[in-house]
Assembly symmetry: C2
Homo-oligomer: 355 residues x 2
Amino acid sequence: MAEKQTEISQLGEFGLIDRLTESLPIVNSSTGYGVGDDAAVLDYGAEKDVLVTTDLLLENVHFDLTYVPLKHLGYKAAVVNFSDVYAMNGTPRQITVSLGISKRFTVEHIEELYAGIRLACGIYGVDIVGGDTSASHQGLVISITCIGDAPKGKAVKRNGAHDTDLICVSGDLGAAYMGLQLLEREKVASAGNADFVPDFAGKEYLVERQLKPEARRDIVAELAKEGIVPTSMIDISDGLSSELMHICKQSKCGCRIYEDRIPIDYQTAVMAEELNMNLVTAALNGGEDYELLFTVPLTDHDKVEKLEGVKVIGYICTADRGCAMVTRDGNEFALKAQGWNPLAEPQNDDLTSED
Amino acid sequence: MAEKQTEISQLGEFGLIDRLTESLPIVNSSTGYGVGDDAAVLDYGAEKDVLVTTDLLLENVHFDLTYVPLKHLGYKAAVVNFSDVYAMNGTPRQITVSLGISKRFTVEHIEELYAGIRLACGIYGVDIVGGDTSASHQGLVISITCIGDAPKGKAVKRNGAHDTDLICVSGDLGAAYMGLQLLEREKVASAGNADFVPDFAGKEYLVERQLKPEARRDIVAELAKEGIVPTSMIDISDGLSSELMHICKQSKCGCRIYEDRIPIDYQTAVMAEELNMNLVTAALNGGEDYELLFTVPLTDHDKVEKLEGVKVIGYICTADRGCAMVTRDGNEFALKAQGWNPLAEPQNDDLTSED
């Protein structure tokens, strides 16, 4: 083509998606809510909304088989999809599994991968209902689509946050990213050394967060039990900063979060120190935490304070005030939707320092 | 691993899928019917069954960008999923689109691809509701999942064919495969010659069948209009022989089809002659026709005879008689589920001669 060509890195992943999905028409009455959330909301009946989400995982982009066991990979590939359904306040029910398999894999390898997928499905109560299997000349390709449901009209989207809402996050952040750094470090150290034994002593939590994340089904259940309906919700796959800005953009609002409120595990802090990395940057921008980020009305303050494993980290404000973090010394700095931007970088685990 | 390792080519695609999906549990009441058909059937409400199907397309396995324009590729990637939903007697409603994009693609390239997907969605009345976009180090990856619906209990599966049912097929067979041969021939002829102009004169139909297939929505509508409910149905993506054996295996029956009843277009025959290929082999085993193969009770004979573009090619018999084609000279030979077996061959377009 002779026409103008634009590098994808100029737009980034989110820019490209915006451009491709601009003014998509909707013609079916069963299409409740489409592109732009953790899952699409479909209306196929009187009682439940149907949720659909999909994830594509490519070898050497999203995973490195040097240190990721196939069973763990299968488990994680399934769980990250469940996480997207929970992030809609829904329950995952079915998945389809498509695999592209290159020549170096044997039947036993693929059975290992599938064993991980089956294990995750067993634990989360999800059925495998279909898929596609193909040769690949290009390493392992895993594409999983998850279908779930939510009570009619109760799916929680990204666009419902309001001024004065409280911003809440489950678990702790940055550990999966630090686990990745650790695994990468040991990979480098092991190069060419067949007898190398990686040393993860005292850092087991970080490795587990990276290799075998869980989806926060328990938080969705707690919210229901306490009668809390979040005004918006998203799962943290690309980093707190990026996800918070998705909520703010779609809800047409701003936010303030407090540095000293961001939940960080002790092992994450030790590892950041060891690697001479900025800990808060890792917590803000490190991906793959799969924790839930949600907003609740200020009137739910007392209820939300009682939730185990949930922390209030800030509040929603008007859009004109922008999105910012308040540091320990009282300064503000603007959040950036850094995320992973895997389309800009060959390695998607680069952190761009915010400070 | 020190344990026994089995080459995937020993099992083939269907064998691998059987092994991976053996005794999959079902725990959700919304899972109506899972692995083993064109689409899964989900029960999410009182009026309609929800259908889900997915396809993974990999560069240089399923498509060659040397001669496949990106817009056509997008169109085809969407249509092949719609075809799976029609093959369940359903209507496609939504798709999710996941793309893995390598560095050589620009925003404009991906817009071209998406334009094809959008065009197909516009023509078939389908909404794009989500997806995933990622970097790929390995060429273009396209994973589309399609959600559709069918009136409650009216989805047609592969397992309902009975002894004496008539076997019907829409359109004609083998043309897409011949189109592929033609495109491959011109690719070889053009190698190193920038000014090369491929010659498709008189063979436009073959090229169109390969590059821009359509899904047989019209046949599903005709069946409904005539009050015909097929006892089984499948779309022909891996070749008539392979699909017919899927039906027979799942319906626990056998079949007889007649060589002289297999619908073949004039251009397909000319091309087979030109390439010195066995025409019937191409029609039996050439993939990507996306025609519908279905069975109807013998009592529907008169109705089905009146359907435009549908041909009765044989009948279902008991399992002990096996699956065979009756040749023009009255001999029988057993059908083989050759299909594409893309897992056995680096190039998935190899035809193994049956005769």
